[in-house]
Symmetry: C2
Subunit: 136 residues, 2 copies
């Protein structure tokens, strides 16, 4: 809802402008992580710089996050409730399906352990290529 997004924005000290609400509704409606090119298409009436700055504001506010797929296009998705202006705290995996080409945020069933001797790990980002459940 618009009202919820508006509250979310003000919560992060961001003004609830029409542009931001529209961008959020586009990202939220998309059933997987949305590629930048799709954002451009849906929001072609946005100035390029406005799209850029709006995305940055939402990223900083912990409202959306990037799902990077190697060096391909950048994807964006809604954050879960536990992200904030203080930082993003995702534990999920980004899956790029080689069939439908969709990028989605998925939870692993197990706790992922990475054991590297003499290294202190702060954050882990995992990107998986394969076939999603819809396409199997």
């Amino acid at each position: 809802m618009d009202t919820e997004f508006a509250e979310l924005l003000r919560d992060r000290n961001l003004k609830a402008t029409p542009k931001r609400l529209e961008l959020l509704s586009v990202v939220a409606k998309y059933n997987s992580a949305i590629p930048y090119s799709e954002l451009q298409k849906s929001l072609h009436h946005f100035d390029r710089v406005t799209l850029y700055r709006t995305l940055n504001a939402l990223l900083d506010g912990g409202i959306v996050h990037k799902a990077s797929v190697s060096n391909e296009e950048v994807y964006y998705a809604m954050c879960k409730h536990y992200c904030s202006s203080e930082g993003h705290h995702h534990k999920h995996v980004h899956l790029k399906c080689k069939e439908c080409l969709e990028v989605s945020c998925v939870e692993a069933k197990n706790t992922i352990v990475i054991d590297i001797p003499n290294v202190e790990i702060d954050n882990v980002e995992i990107e998986v290529q394969g076939t999603c459940s819809k396409c199997l």
Copy 2:
């Protein structure tokens, strides 16, 4: 050695040109994954397009690989022997140290398991932020 690199190149059906040998020696000498900006500095006498095409040729040939760090700069590193023109087969992790800012290819001590129900996993890429052994 130049001769080894030359053989490696011909092995992958790539001509052993001075540019390629020079780029390879720069990448290989660097003690961690080399940022693109460093490549530019070291190889400022390369035409921009030549650097671009040379990197692509070596990537395609399975001689170097990218170590992407979220959406920051692109890094490059030498491949291990088991990569080829058929494809890259890395099982290591890319570590970005928050102290020295270096990006390095490191082996995890354990086998990393990612359990996602109803998903067929082909390839996994892991990017770790933290503190490297040198900086601890």
